[in-house]
Amino acid sequence: MPALAAPNRHPPPPQPLPGQAARAAASGRQRLGRRAAAASAAGAPPRQKMFVHLWGFLYSHYFRFWLKWILRLLTRKCELQRILDGSKEGARRTLSIEHSLDSSKSKVLRNAVHVDEAEVEKCVRDVMKEKKIEQKNTGFKINLHICLLQISGYKKLYLNVESLRKVPYDADNEEHEEQLIELWNLLMPHENLKARITKQWCDIGFQGDDPKTDFRGMGMLGLVNLVFFSKHYTSEARQILSRSNHPKLGYSYAIVGINLTEMAYSLLKNGALKSHLYNTVSGLPQMEDFHQFYCYLVYEFDKFWFEEEPESIMHFNQYREKFHEKVKGLLLDYDVILTLKNTKKP
């Protein structure tokens, strides 16, 4: 039996990926959201979980109010001002603002997290009026404006991603068909499709002779993601495709891609992507930002898969879960940025 060739080298990163700092110890002020989530997620013993919940309840219902009152008295600033003055732009700041707005007793503040793009300016003025902050405080105005765009923009992005996901692939829709053919042409530039229904689709990792049955719950979102990666990172995509055809460590390129779309989608849905998006976009996040995160997942998963050297494709799910846990862990870091920078000239 011929010796198996080592897998092609993983495509070199277009730019060195930023290092991910380990999560620092919790800051003085208890931010229960992440710690509680991490504690219960880590399968902490029931008694510990109970204490966390009890503390959370007491804190949010009693201690927090008195703590804020004292701090306002001492610093003459409301919580929003303290946060915006105390930290620079980034996820830490925006998440604190979001938490503060969500937990506010004021309806004006609570509704600010859902504000429409066109209404943000007015909303900022209303918040300043509500909290008795001077309107000439432009620093506060600008910073809150950015935070609100990020916070409400994240929710809007999820809705847009969800509506694309709900669009099933339709073979009678010319636009859908065009994108599918485009995917083929980007990945297999030297080979023509013999027909629309053909076993050739398996060469790019679809399961059968008609890709439309493979999108399932991810709908057009899956195809759009695949095309985006192939279009904007063409050489990386082709290298990863060629690695995916490895005789022993191979996997189905397109199917795994759709799986990773589901991973990106669920991270967006449950709010885990906030830290990454609040750090990378200081304004309204766009669909392209979601696609870029998807590209990061595909690139990193390919690297991860070959490093792990799984026994066979049959063990895909357990490695997928391991990778998922790794990404979730990275996203807990307030300073996280997970992107694949494109060094190509536009």
Partner: protein, 191 residues
């Protein structure tokens, strides 16, 4: 919360239900993942194609089924037999509305499974899924086409129609399978 309540009321843990290890096979797109997810009260909205295998503990009132679901794509079916060891029953899902070619492939796979040394003595639950589609063949047609009466004689099998919009019927079909599995428990020396 439930554990707190139990601890407070000095109640012991609930009595354990018997567990059975099953394998779930069928062609890609037949509906294995969707059916199992819905049986576990999970949404089947965000389903993606199963690559490799996935294990689900499906709870029923009188038993827990540990189902090893195997992906049905062409390039994965060759690995199916590696995962038959230790199974106590088989669930075979087919798309009643698939093309002639696919139905033939499904028939071949079912026959292989019925005759496989590690599965031939086990109870089979055969689900003719996608009954809600207009092109779906009836149970009678499926039974005839799959030659179940002659081929599966002497084996214990159940053939039931089903679709995702009637999960009660699916649960009933599974209850029948659980009965077969329980019967087996009482006859350990049966060949």
């Amino acid at each position: 919360m439930e554990m707190c309540f139990r601890a407070l009321c000095c109640k012991g843990p609930p009595p354990p239900r018997p567990e059975y290890d099953l394998v779930c096979i069928g062609l890609t797109g037949s509906g294995k993942t969707s059916l199992l997810s819905q049986l576990c009260s999970e949404s089947a909205e965000n389903i993606v194609s199963t690559t490799g295998f996935s294990i689900k503990a499906v709870p029923f009132q009188n038993a827990i089924l540990n189902v090893k679901e195997l992906g049905g794509a062409d390039n994965i079916r060759k690995y199916w037999s590696r995962y038959y060891q230790g199974s106590q029953g088989v669930i075979f899902v087919l798309d009643s509305a698939s093309s002639e070619d696919d139905l033939e492939t499904a028939r071949n796979e079912l026959h292989s499974a019925l005759q496989h040394p590690q599965l031939c003595t086990l109870p089979f639950l055969i689900l003719a899924n996608h009954q809600d589609k207009p092109a779906a063949r009836s149970v009678q047609e499926i039974k005839k086409y799959f030659e179940l009466e002659p081929l599966a004689r002497g084996k214990r099998w159940i053939l039931k129609p089903c679709s995702l919009d009637d999960m009660e019927a699916v649960k009933d079909s599974f209850s029948l399978l659980i009965n077969l599995l329980e019967e087996r428990d009482f006859e350990p020396s049966r060949m």
